[in-house]
């Protein structure tokens, strides 16, 4: 199968300042509301087309997030282990062929490991009927080819904020 047209690349938003943790020595870490989302971008299943996921990983970095990027063909157990050790806020799955069909399996294993609060988004080729099933399984959003990088970044940031807020409330 060949890879379809993918998403736009990122540009830092107009007038963006370096967030804290950049060159500002007075605001080390994430005090004062400057949350730095930690996002995993990965592919599970068999497909290896990763042009889109690389573009998204770079785009999220350019939007000020910390991205763990893995190559394709990750085992579900390895993704769960990584998510736990890295304490990610959001897991982004890139799926070109039909690998999204095992995303519910991934979500079940995340829940079993006590990581059910992590946000999950899926990007790639997902037929409409499958999209509904994914959302019902708890996926926060499905991004189709042609999605603007700015939209992806702002959704992921907001989702990460919600995930963090839920954790603090524990």
């Amino acid at each position: 199968m060949s890879e379809p047209h993918t998403m736009s690349a990122a540009r830092p938003p107009e007038g963006a300042k370096a967030p804290s943790g950049g060159s500002d020595p007075h605001a080390v870490g994430e005090r004062g509301g400057h949350m730095i989302p930690k996002v995993l971008v990965t592919k599970i299943g068999f497909d290896g087309h990763d042009r889109g996921s690389r573009v998204v990983a770079a785009g999220l970095r350019d939007a000020g997030m910390e991205v763990i990027y893995t190559p394709p063909w990750q085992e579900i157990a390895a993704v769960v282990k990584l998510a736990m050790e890295e304490d990610v806020d959001v897991v982004g799955i890139s799926s070109l062929a039909t690998d999204h069909l095992i995303v519910p399996k991934l979500m079940a294993e995340l829940r079993e490991a006590g990581l059910g609060d992590i946000g999950v988004v899926v990007g790639g080729i997902v037929p409409d009927e499958d999209e509904k099933a994914l959302l019902d399984a708890g996926v926060a959003r499905v991004f189709h080819p042609g999605s603007a990088m700015a939209d992806i970044a702002s959704f992921v940031r907001e989702l990460a904020g919600q995930v963090r807020a839920r954790r603090v409330a524990l």
Partner: protein
């Protein structure tokens, strides 16, 4: 705007001057235009850009070096391009049914696409059942191959197999052929994905053995086929993956030619004569929607390949100089938005490949960007080729764009750009070293980023995506067909039962011989793969043995 040109070359210098003035006065803002490979494109080309009288030898005639106009004297007028549609789905029986339909609709050759689980080297009982057979056929044994190709005469129909190293699908086919009484010397087709370097560069599906092991296995494969399956093309050098991953057309061609040189050198080092293996080298390219650029790319490639084979590799047989290639319309240009527009795109891409002189063509279905293609979409894809051949009569004239000032000049410029990139690879020590060092991957990543920026900024329009968008009715999208779960479960159960009744001693003995061959540089690993297939070993067993012995190819992730 236009640089001063040598007016002696123009037939009508005064008229040209007048055109220049009128153009400048009426054009308004004249944007600089460049094609995907970065070659600047002017509004008008004339004899000053390319003069037939001076360039006759570079242009040549069809069927003779440097083959710019085509590798055969008759080209498509003598024998139309092979309509080789890539298909694969579900179980072998389901595949066979679809195959027969496609052959009845006009396809003239077969290209078998296995399931992604097969690409990754796994058997069906090691894989998530949800993912089996969704985009390719699940074939794990020689019996499955036999069932998939029921009713196909191997001696008459060319069958391309799309698995990478260690080429178990060909091994299964050879076993099936032997059982049917077909002489291997009559079997024809191509190992379509034998280019391990392109798989290393652009990850896609295939990635099983570490680089040195993959290199060795390719050599063994070529050697074996030369000796025992002489009508088989064991070497298909693949440019498709790299162009899909973001390489410009010129880069993709340059990297592909560099890979071909690398593989040829490896064969020569094994003691093979270039004329023994070069005639069976074929190429596999992506065809983008950048029409003229693609035509020029292919014409330039034929010229460059002639010089490489004849002058650098020392091949004496003219058949060694011929640049044979299969083209696939590029899925990377297709969109999910307004998917029917993809039919127009595929038509333009197909035309570019045909006028570029390909030998065989696959046209994508319009719903490629939505899901694995449907039967409905596949039918239109084949019909597109039929229309171009029989209604538009694209087979009537050989190299019809030859002599066009633009096309010839662009061919020159693409040739220069291709050679420029080839030199970068050569300076890095050749394609193997350049890939090992990550140089090629980085260059492709850069091109991908640049293209993305052009789409982002609107400089490159993508209809329906960044321009001409409409609100779409989701019900207009085709229904997705997935393999029936019960049928697939039965296939898996049947496979397990089949494994249980094999001779364990025979299977283990064959796998041990395979493992020993991997460690013995004098043995031919592919020959042992064929023997293992004959002994009833499964695809997964063969792959995991070699993965263990020759090392697993780890992925470089360069963002």
């Amino acid at each position: 705007m236009n640089k001063a040109i040598d007016s002696k070359l123009l037939h009508e210098p005064d008229a040209y001057g007048a055109w220049q003035q009128e153009y400048a006065a009426t054009i308004g803002t004249d944007k600089q235009v460049a094609n995907r490979s970065g070659v600047p494109i002017k509004p008008l080309y004339t004899a000053a850009d390319w003069n037939a009288a001076d360039r006759a030898s570079d242009l040549g005639v069809p069927g003779q070096a440097p083959f710019t106009r085509g590798i055969y004297a008759t080209m498509h007028r003598g024998r139309t391009w092979t309509q080789r549609q890539l298909i694969g789905l579900g179980t072998p029986e389901e595949y066979n049914a679809r195959l027969r339909e496609v052959l009845a609709q006009g396809a003239t050759a077969i290209s078998l696409l296995p399931c992604n689980s097969v690409f990754r080297g796994y058997d069906m009982d090691e894989s998530h059942i949800e993912l089996l057979g969704t985009c390719g056929t699940v074939i794990n044994t020689w019996e499955h191959m036999d069932a998939a190709l029921q009713g196909v005469d191997f001696a008459r129909t060319s069958c391309a197999q799309n698995d990478p190293t260690p080429f178990t699908l060909l091994a299964f086919m050879l076993v099936a052929a032997r059982r049917r009484g077909t002489d291997w010397r009559q079997v024809s087709g191509t190992s379509n994905q034998s280019d391990y370097l392109s798989h290393y560069v652009a990850n896609h599906m295939f990635y099983r053995l570490a680089l040195p092991g993959a290199r060795r296995l390719l050599g063994d494969h070529i050697d074996f086929c030369n000796r025992h399956v002489p009508r088989w093309n064991p070497m298909s050098v693949v440019g498709q993956h790299m162009q899909q991953a973001g390489a410009t057309p010129a880069e993709a061609m340059a990297f592909t030619l560099s890979t071909a040189i690398q593989n040829a050198r490896d064969c020569i080092e094994r003691g093979m004569d270039p004329d023994d293996f070069l005639p069976r080298f074929t190429f596999f390219f992506d065809i983008s929607v950048s029409f003229f650029e693609e035509v020029a790319k292919f014409r330039a490639a034929r010229r460059i390949w002639t010089r490489i084979t004849r002058d650098r590799l020392g091949a004496k047989d003219p058949r060694s100089w011929r640049f044979k290639f299969h083209g696939q319309t590029s899925g990377a240009d297709l969109t999910r938005q307004q998917p029917l527009n993809n039919i127009a795109r595929v038509t333009v891409q197909a035309m570019a490949g045909i006028l570029g002189g390909l030998q065989s063509l696959h046209t994508d279905a319009y719903d490629e960007a939505l899901s694995c293609p449907s039967e409905f979409g596949a039918r239109i894809a084949i019909a597109t080729q039929n229309v171009l051949r029989e209604e538009a009569h694209l087979t009537d004239v050989i190299d019809p764009l030859g002599g066009s000032f633009y096309v010839e000049k662009l061919t020159d410029e693409m040739e220069a750009e291709i050679e420029r990139v080839m030199k970068i690879v050569e300076d890095a020590g050749g394609m193997y070293q350049a890939v090992e060092a990550g140089l090629v991957q980085r260059m492709i990543g850069e091109s991908a980023r640049r293209f993305q920026q052009r789409v982002d900024s609107g400089e490159q329009t993508v209809v329906g995506v960044n321009a001409y968008q409409v609100e779409e009715d989701a019900s207009a999208r085709p229904i997705n067909t997935r393999p029936d779960r019960t049928t697939m479960q039965a296939h898996v159960d049947g496979f397990k039962a089949w494994k249980a009744q094999r001779s364990a001693g025979q299977v283990q003995g064959a796998l041990d011989a395979l493992a020993r061959a991997a460690g013995d540089a004098r043995d031919n690993v592919f020959a042992r793969v064929v023997e293992a297939a004959e002994a009833g070993c499964t695809h997964g067993e063969i792959c995991s043995t070699l993965r263990r012995e020759m090392g697993f190819g780890h992925v470089q992730a360069i963002v």
